[in-house]
Each structure stands twice: as C-alpha cells, then as structure tokens.
Point group: C2
Chain length 519, copies 2
C-alpha cells in the first residue's frame, strides 16, 4: 500500500498560517480524520419507550413479516427457520433469529482505505461524516443545474478527497452519461485514482458488485486475505418501506455479507407517508426493517459487517415532500441512536436539506441534521454536505458551506487545555485594565493555531465586504471549489492504480459490461 | 393588568392549519413560551478545570483587582471591606465578599410582563431566547442598510412581539433619529404600546433609568409593591474587559439592584484581544469580571436579581474582528454553563453572526450559537435572531430565518408520545408492504398537528420553486416580515397604556429630557 503524501493545499484548519511549511504534515491537519463524539448521547424517549419500540418491531417481524422479493434471500431465511409464504413472498422472522443475528453482528468495523491514516473504526462513539450522495443532478453558480455526468462525478470525488472532515467517498453525482452496464467501472475508477478514502459500491446486481470488488483488489493490489482483513467497500441497503426488501437490495445484503464487506442498512421511513405518522410508530417500522436486513446478513455470514441505520424524517404536510432538519428529523436521529445503543451496534444517520438552493434554509436544515448527529452520537452521518432538493441535486457551493459546519463541530473533538499555564495568570498580570492581550507572550506563543480558521466565512467588516463585491458565502464558495479543482493533485499512487485497472475495465467493456438489475 | 388576547395571526406552529379557529388559543401556540432545556448540559472542561478557573478568578480579584471608575461603587466596595486604592481606582475584592454575594444572589428570578403568560422564570434549566440587540444599523432587502431610527426600532419591537419564541423585547435597532436625552422615552413607549413581553432598559445614566422605571409603573399601572414583586425590567451590564467597570455600567448595577430590577452581567471577552488567547484564560477573566459586578449588586442590595453572563468568543486572527459561531465560541458557551452551575446562578450566553448578509454563513454562525446554548443549558440566549455584522446591523430577513431555527429547537422541548397507541400497531397492521400510511386512521387522527410547520422554509420541488420565482429563503423572508408589519395589531391594553404615559413623556421632554451620561 502506498502512503499518500499530505496534500500541500489543505482547506480549513491552519492551512493558511503554515504556508511556509506547506509540505510538512501539520499536527492539526489530522484532527479531523479519526473523530470521537465530543458529547454524551441524549434521549428523546425513556429507556422503557425504547424497549417497547424494539419489542414492537420484533412483533412486526414475528406476526406481520416482511415481503422479500428475492428468492435466494427467502431461501436463506427459510433454512434458518423463518416462516416463508412463497405465494405472498412474506417472511415472518422469530425473535430468536433476530437475537442470534444481533449477537454475532460486529460491534466494531475497521473501514480500510488506500492510506492507513484514512481508516475509520466504525463503532459506538466514532463520528464519521459522509458526503451528500445519490444525487441525479448537480448544480453550481457557474454552470447551473444539470444532470450528473462522469465529469461532475469525478469533480465531486476530488472535492471529497480535499477535505479531511469528509471521511469517505460517496456517490454525490450519478454519472448519467455513462451507460448503466459500464457505469460501475467508471465510479470505481474515479474513487481509485482520485483519492485514498474508503470507497462505496452500489449494490446494483451481483455482477456489478463482484466486478467492483475485483477493481478494488486489483487497483490497491490486495490479496484475497487483505480484502477481508477489515472492510474495503461499503454499500447502502435501502429497504422499501413499508416492510419490503426488493431484489437488488436483498442480493446486495447477501453479496456484501459473503464478501465480508459493509452493508449500511437504511430504511427510509417518512412519517406520514411510508411510515406511521408518529415518531414512535415510524421507528417501530424502521427498526423492524433494519433488523430483518441485519438478520439476513448474519444468516448469510455470521459476523458480516453491517451498520444499523435510520434515515427517518417527516413529510411536509403541505407538499407531501420529505422534510429534513425539522424537529421531527432531529428527534428521529436521537431516538435512532437510542435504538442503536439498545442493540449495541454502530449505525448511520443522516443530515440533508430540502432547499432548492444554497441559502439560509439549506444551511439551517443541514446544521440541524449535523447537531442531531452530535446529540445522537451517530456513527456515520450520511448526506452531511452538499445535499439540495432532498437529495435530487448535489450543490457545489452548498458542499463548501456545509464543510465549514462540519469542520466547526469537528474542532469540538479537540480538548482545550486546562493546565495552569493555559489559565493565563502571567497574561492577566501583565495586561492593565483597559489594555489588550495581543502582544502578551502568552498570546504570541499561541496565536498561530489558537483558533479555527474559517474556510468560507468572511469576517471582514461591512465596508471591506462591500468593497470586495458584496459576495454571499455561496458566491465565495464558487471560487473555493474552482481553486480546489484547478489545483487538485491526485495521490502519488494514482498512476500505478490507473494502470492496474485499465486492462480489466477495457476487457469488461468489450464484453458488454454488467447489467445493472439483480439476478 | 390586561390579559392580552392571542393574536389571530401567529407565525409558526400550527397557524395555517387552524385558520378556522383563528381566534381561539391553540394548545401548541403556548409551547414556545415557557421552555425548559430538552438536553442534559455538556462539558468542555473537567470539574477540576472549572474549579481552577473559579479559583484563579478569585485570585485575580484578590491580588490584581478591578478598576472601578465610579466613586459611589468604590465606596460600596470599600465599606464592605474591599481594598480600594483611590489613586489608581483599583478595587481588590476578597474571597469572602464574593462568597457572601454568591450566597444571597437569587437562584430563580420571576421576569414579569404585561401578560402573565409571557412571564419567564429565569433559573437553571429555563431556555429563553432574546433577540439580536444593540445594533446601530438595520437592513432589509427592500430598503437596504441604514442607520437605526425610531421607525425601525418600533418595527423590530413588533417583530419580536409576533413570535412566541422571542421571549423578551430587546433593543434591536438604535433609534438614532431621536436625541439621546429623549431616546429612552421612545424606547419605553415602543415596548409598552406594541406588545406585552418583558422589557429592557438601557443603563445610560441614573435619571434615564429612573424615568424608564417610572414609565413601566405608570404604563402598566403598577404600585411600588407590584414593581418589586418579581422583575419588570432588565438591563445588560458590560464590563470593559479587561478588568474595568465604567461609570454608567457601575451606576447601572447599583440602580437596578436598588430598584430590585435585573442586571445581566456580561463581560465581552474576546480571546486574543481583550482577553487571554486561551479558552481557559479568557474564562478566568470573564468569571472575575462577572463576579466583581455580581458582588457590587449584592453589596448594594442583598438578593438583587442578577444573571451571571458570558459572551466570550475569539477574534479572527486575519481581520481582528470578533468571530461568532466558531468552535471557540461554542466551547466558551459550554464552559460558561459549567461555571454558572459551579456558582449555581442562572446566566446569559449569546448566539450571533459576523456575516454581512443573510446567507449560509449567517445561518451557520447563528445555528452554532443556538446549539451551543442547548449544550450549555444557557438560561437566556441573547442575540439569538437577527444579528448581522457582529451586532452592527439588525437584518429583518436574517431575523425571520433565525426564528425558524429557534422554533425548530423549541419544538424539541415537547415530549413525543411513547404510549402504546403511538407505537402504531394498528397502522402497521393495516398497511401492506409497499403501501402508504396517509389514509390510515392512525394518521388521519393526527396529521393536523403531527409535525412542525415551517415558517420560511420552502419544501416544494425544484420545478415548483423555479415557477415561483426561484426565491431564496432570505427573499421569501421579506414577504413574511412585511405581512407581519402590515397585519400587526397592538395588544388590547395598548391604547390605555399610551394614554397613561403620554403626559409624563410630554412633560419630561418639555423639561429637556435626561442626559445619557452617568452622574
């Protein structure tokens, strides 16, 4: 494995202060990489309430069951003792099967990547930020809103790579200009050659999944033993709420479990639409669906890496649209954290925004989601930067501004010194009433990295800001992402990776690629 | 006292759903009025670290002292046993005086107002939001940026009045077109006739303070006994960091203590400028200054209502400007909460924004401050809506968008039901896999007030949003504040209040008003 060199231009942190030592890794630059939650998890339900939700979810699985569209998955459930109706495709799962699955699901998952310093331990207490993903469109102030393309996909991968606080790659932009049977090749190539972060793989059919794993092994020169030592690929498994698991998703659970790669189990329960209107009720459904998929993974391979997951929010009762960053979304997140701790698993939540543009609404919705994640001690917060339109669009300027919020909360993970010298008696003694502390030895020794330096926030006064063109933070963000893309340098291992995978991809394209459907 | 009728148009909450019963108070409309913190307070320093900051602050007061520019205040300190140097104006305060003050300062303060349902109990655990205040300028998208005037002052009071989540009036806009010696008359008149929330009084000289108290007694028809039964007026006392208390502020502490009205003690400690560069060091200074002013209040009148306060943040090392919503600001807030609990007093913190316009930066900065207040269990969060330019400007659109954030966190105070029926078995049983819950009896019975309804957030899809003119949340906010001001109806008591104070104000204007300086 090649250790990737610290990029000379790192955004955020102390970048600008250490221009003179730009090539040396700065101590603070690593602070955003492996984060632990700074705050105690909070509660919205009593412990009894959480136990009742868990028990009601077990009852749903036991008495009502879940519809499983994929025959291989039904077979796995049936063999283990679940009650399967092959006419209705309903699978009823006993409490014992769920309990056995929860007993063997791992509590700690080592998420690996091309560079060891990018690894994440996915476990209770870890705080991992995942970019806004799954967007069919992208937009920026320079080029407007447009369908996602391979060019924009690769740009978003470069943006993820450029901020330490974005801990993994995600499919921010769907490369719609690449045919579906070849798309996974380009999505893997983009991740492999533009950076060194943990990678995602879409579960869009067995052949695509297996070829994506091939490309990771090949690109990073991993043996089969390396590939199952920790986890190199993650996928998101969305159940089809209510109570349904479709073919590609069930197949994805099975394929990832067999390959010992990570399934992030994610019911998307919109209270009032695909889930009961109450928070408690929607969580019963989320929990039942997540437990069903976790059970399938563990029946396939005991110890298969999975994250419990929730992405519950409410619908807007006026438009019927999904809402994000609402009080209900925050409560869902915190309660999901309670449920994850109840079953003692690492888990995923989500931030996100329904706003159509990078405005105050967009910022507030996402900030609420981020802070919900802090209250909830969410392990992996998906869609934490860049989401617009409830996920229908990835906004470049939105991404930059959301990263500022993520860096702000990431800074909270660093303990502020409370030693005698930090209490500052010498400075307090030096400075007379009405004086200032700028020039004290105490300040001079520390000023260079005393404070977080903003990425896009402009703290100049109104006159200076007016003279500079009255740019909003969204407008300033344009210059920032443009500069990142202009200056982007791929990791040093990029060339050799590209060479190793080129032949494989060319061969498979010649052979017609791989169909995106399950089967 | 006149009970003020519920305004028919209330923003936020369930307003639009209950148009048919617009005149009846809705159960949820009161939910934002008396809030209790929904989350446990968090820590950034160890308990020992907090004790060390407290002890170091005592050492500062004991060994270094504080410069007190007002002779009457020095006299009060000296009489109580503090060491006063009348040449240097330095007052050194022993630990025993501070301890005695902390022993008698009230733990719970009843903040009264024209309407009993607007009262606030200021105590640990209460969550009170105070509008962005002290701004010399105002701005909105319609009329641009301009110096504060009496017209804009009265508009901002009406905006405060129109949202339950804004719990008190604050001087959002300085009426610069009213001469300084008459200004307090108009500021009191505005608060008395446009609403029924707890009121502020600037401590700008003894005569102005006393006349402001007169106007409250007169306007609300209070006896002297009524006026000291709880607290009817608050003021903010800023120490002049480092270690200085000027004439108007010291006089304010004394005047408010004697009148049994509330002083909110607020050192404004900017780490790296007027305070040590470290968080721990800046807090030593904040704590020392706050303790000195609290001691002065308690020496003046044992049991005088005071809030401990902090408004510490960092300076931007590039521009030297105060920064808000930064990681350091958040840490200061949480640690200030620890210090307030250490001395067992209710306290004030602050949100706020340095942004020059109502953009993502402005939203994020303020949201960070609001969430810091939740982590800190801040009793009164000042500048929680509308601040731009670090307080140099009050933004109307910023205010509306910030109110959305406040309403969102206020909703978290309501416990979500976790009873059997809320778990939704009946709905889960009814809805088949792949179905939806819209039409279930469970949803129909609840949908009207199941979810928070946004104030300014627009959840329509991109097409609908584009057709509607592609308005940002700031642009939409213009229509909202305009409609509020257009539809504004003063409380029913307004006419009689106006009559009761008119003669007093006319007489005092004839006599030349009251000078704004201390003396």
């Amino acid at each position: 494995m090649t250790e990737v060199k610290e990029r000379p231009v790192r955004r955020g942190g102390r970048g600008r202060h250490r221009a003179d030592t730009a090539d040396a890794p700065a101590p603070r630059s690593h602070a955003y990489r492996q984060l632990r939650h700074p705050f105690e998890p909070q509660k919205v339900f009593s412990d009894d309430g959480i136990a009742n939700i868990h028990n009601m979810a077990l009852r749903v699985l036991r008495e009502l069951g879940i519809k499983v569209l994929y025959d291989e998955a039904r077979g796995i459930f049936e063999k283990a003792g679940a009650l399967v109706d092959h006419d209705t495709l309903m699978v009823r799962i006993g409490d014992d099967l769920v309990a056995q699955a929860l007993a063997v699901a791992p509590r700690s998952i080592r998420m690996r990547s091309a560079s060891p310093h990018r690894e994440q331990m996915l476990e209770q207490g870890a705080m991992v930020f995942y970019p806004g993903s799954g967007c069919p469109n992208v937009s920026d102030l320079e080029r407007g809103r447009r369908p996602g393309s391979l060019a924009s996909y690769n740009e978003t991968i470069k943006l993820h790579q450029s901020f330490d606080v974005i801990h993994m790659f995600g499919p921010s932009a769907e490369p719609q200009d690449v045919a579906a049977e070849f798309r996974h090749y380009e999505m893997m190539r983009g991740q492999l050659i533009h950076g060194d972060k943990p990678m995602f793989v879409y579960a869009r059919g067995r052949q695509q999944t297996e070829e994506s794993f091939d490309l990771i092994r090949l690109g990073l020169d991993l043996s089969d033993a390396d590939f199952v030592d920790g986890v190199w690929a993650l996928t998101v498994i969305n159940t089809n709420s209510p109570r349904q698991l479709d073919v590609p998703m069930a197949q994805g659970v099975i394929d990832f479990a067999r390959a010992k790669q990570l399934s992030i189990i994610t019911p998307f329960c919109l209270a009032g639409a695909m889930a009961p209107v109450t928070i408690a009720g929607a969580l019963v459904l989320q929990h039942a669906e997540a437990l069903a998929a976790i059970t399938l993974a563990q029946l396939t391979h005991p110890g298969a890496p999975v994250l419990y997951g929730g992405f519950a929010s409410n619908v807007d009762m006026k438009s019927g649209s999904p809402a994000f960053g609402t009080p209900e979304h925050i409560k869902f997140a915190i309660a999901s954290g309670q449920l994850a701790r109840h079953i003692d698993l690492p888990w995923r939540g989500a931030a996100g925004s329904a706003s159509n543009t990078a405005d105050m609404q967009g910022a507030t919705e996402n900030n609420m989601g981020i802070w919900a994640a802090l209250q909830a001690n969410t392990t992996v917060t998906v869609h934490s930067a860049g989401w617009l339109e409830g996920g229908l669009c990835f906004g470049y300027e939105k991404f930059i501004n959301d990263v500022e919020a993520l860096q702000t909360v990431a800074e909270l993970c660093a303990q502020s010194p409370e030693d005698e010298d930090s209490l500052g008696w010498s400075a307090l003694e030096d400075v007379q009433p009405g004086g200032h502390f700028f020039a004290t030895e105490h300040a001079m020794a520390r000023y260079k990295d005393a404070f977080y330096e903003p990425l896009v926030a402009d703290l100049s006064n109104f006159g200076a800001w007016t003279d500079a063109g009255e740019l909003t933070s969204s407008q300033r963000a344009t210059g920032i992402w443009q500069q990142i893309l202009r200056d982007f340098k791929a990791p040093t291992h990029s060339g050799s990776v590209a060479e190793r995978i080129a032949g494989y991809i060319a061969d498979h394209i010649d052979k017609g690629g791989a169909p995106p459907a399950g089967g």
